[in-house]
Amino acid sequence: MITLKVNGRDHRVDAEPDTPLLYVLRDHLALNAAKFGCGLGQCGACTVIVDGKAVLSCVTPLVLLEGKQVTTLEGLGTTADPAPIQRAFLDEQAAQCGYCIAGMMMRAQALLMRNASPSDDEIRGELEPHLCRCGTHMRILRAIRRAAGLMNRAELAPESGADR
């Protein structure tokens, strides 16, 4: 048994130390936002946040996660109360098939947590590890800029409810 801290809660997980985090999230904890794409750390669909950094969960075994905090898309907000990054992707309708979008949102979230106003070049450079074969790339960029605006305003007015 391994204790894993996900979205602020401790979970006791019955899995081997070489089990990829992605399998545990999806198969043991029913957190299905992170997707299995390539299984080789090459497509970005499985991206989650670990201790503030975007991490590819399909190539991150449990043994590396001792004492670390895992955040998935489910930990950012809910359908009823979406986080700024989720709100922004909805507002811009930035998903087409959507398979890659959860991973993109997580990396964008990690970027905005350390850089509140990234340039377009910084956003593009950051999302370089993510593959998407649909047609919404410009909407994704707009959504991340919009999320930056939402988060920056929320800082000024924490009572707006976007204080996660």
């Binding site: 070489d18 090459q42 991150t60």
Partner: protein
């Protein structure tokens, strides 16, 4: 004439003579500027020049990531300060648009620019001096037909006295010739020698340098340092567990990997990308010449290789009693690819074959574990995820020490923790931008199809 008058006269003559000698060493005339609009070149010459520019890896120093081709201004760190590469596009004012072919050839051969100023040897004219007139002509034709880019390089940041260009003239006197055709060898060997010692300037990274920044002739190809990577010894001192031969060198240089040796990454990635798009005969020639430089492996080296290759089959799943943390991380994180048996370039090499694990310091291994290996656009290139975000420094140190103990017979590394911290500082950002760096315009017809 008095006695003191004679002495004064002799002294004056000596001073004048000395000054004349210094003048003769240092002074180079300007070569007349030309009108850039007056030139035309045959297509075949330009195409040949493209291939040569790729073999010479010109873009590596003369094209900044994300910037226009050959516009220069790439910062090249040296022990003496930072030198910024020149704009070698045909822009008349900031590039080499007003250079005649004679001026270009003089720069390649003697390291002197059109105005007569000595160039810093970060431009490897100690190698390019070996390039033939014919090849210089093709390179000139290629560069002069590129898009002119208006971009002046920043001033070099060199400490005194290294900011004094006349000193370079003295440095040049210390050079010795590196290439002589050898009629006792075949045409392929001689072609390889011409490329390796000349345009390809392999020794610029793989030969250690002396205190004055010159390549140590007595230690040719014994390994050097570049951009916080270790350029391995590529002679009899090679740390590769399996000895290199001409076939392995050809495959590695052409494809970027070899099943007995692993993948070429770091600054070598650009070199193998380049060589994948040139005439395979030239790559074969380089391999033939370099196989001679490596020489026949010693009986010990050969036996060691046989042992390693035999053990590979029996190795899977073997546990380690020492360093439990490193062993656990290796088993959970690395082994799923590196012991999967999946073929290169998408599978990982068994680390018993890794030169990085057997190298004299852990820099290259730390760099790769942190930053991974980004796929290169348009190439069938090796891949590996980086672990900078998912592993702490302590975890990387543990796995590096484990790899060294389990997969090499070499002595333990020291200072692994500092190396990992330094690699995290320097490499992660650098490699992320390297993934997006531009290639010279490739002749895709020449490239092996994935």
């Amino acid at each position: 004439m008095t006695r003191s008058g004679v002495i004064a006269g002799v002294l004056a003559a000596l001073v004048l003579g000395g000054a004349a000698a210094v003048f003769a060493v240092v002074w180079r005339p300007a070569i007349d500027a030309i009108d850039p609009a007056q030139r035309t070149f045959a297509n075949d010459l330009v195409k040949h020049g493209r291939t040569l520019a790729v073999i010479g890896n010109c873009s590596n120093c003369h094209t900044a990531p994300g910037a226009k081709d050959f516009a220069g201004a790439v910062a090249v760190p040296t022990p003496f300060g930072t030198v910024f590469s020149s704009n070698i596009t045909p822009d008349a004012d900031t590039g080499i648009g007003r250079w005649s072919e004679a001026a270009f050839r003089r720069a390649m051969r003697d390291g002197v620019d059109r105005e007569g100023r000595h160039l810093y040897p970060t431009f490897p004219y100690d190698h390019f001096t070996n390039v033939s007139d014919e090849d210089d002509r093709a390179l000139y034709a290629y560069l002069m037909t590129r898009e002119p880019v208006r971009s002046a390089a920043p001033a070099n940041r060199l400490s005194f006295p290294f900011d004094q260009r006349p000193l370079i003239a003295g440095w040049k006197l210390l050079r010795s010739a590196t290439y002589h055709p050898d009629s006792s060898k075949g045409a392929e060997w001689n072609r390889g020698a011409y490329l390796v010692e000349g345009l390809a300037h392999c020794g610029a990274c793989h030969t250690p340098r002396n205190a004055l920044g010159g390549e140590r002739a007595s230690a040719s190809f014994s390994g050097g340092d570049v951009d916080n990577w270790q350029a391995y010894a590529i002679n009899a001192h090679s740390p590769s567990p399996v000895p290199w031969d001409a076939d392995a060198l050809f495959g590695y240089l052409r494809n970027g990997w070899h099943p007995d040796h692993g993948t070429a990454r770091g600054p070598m990635a650009q070199v193998v990308a380049n060589l994948s798009s040139v005439d395979p005969d030239d790559v074969r020639a380089i391999a033939t010449y370099m196989a001679g430089v490596f020489g026949q492996p010693s009986p010990d080296h050969r036996r060691g290789a046989e042992t390693v290759l035999a053990e590979l089959k029996a190795m899977a799943g073997r546990a380690s009693e020492t360093n439990a943390a490193g062993a656990a991380i290796y088993a959970a994180t690395c082994a799923s690819c590196h012991e999967s048996g999946r073929a290169l370039p998408y599978g990982g090499i068994n680390l018993a074959l890794s030169t990085a694990v057997c190298g004299s310091d852990p820099r290259n291994l730390a760099n790769i574990v942190l930053a991974g290996i980004s796929p290169r656009e348009g190439e069938r290139s090796p891949i590996m995820p980086g672990f900078a975000s998912s592993m702490t420094d302590d975890q990387i140190v543990a796995v590096l020490i484990y790899l060294r103990t389990r997969f090499s017979n070499e002595p333990a590394w020291t200072g692994v923790d500092q190396v990992v911290a330094e690699a995290r500082r320097t490499q992660v950002a650098a490699l992320r931008t390297a993934a997006a760096s531009r290639q010279p315009p490739a002749d895709l017809a020449q490239r092996d199809k994935p």
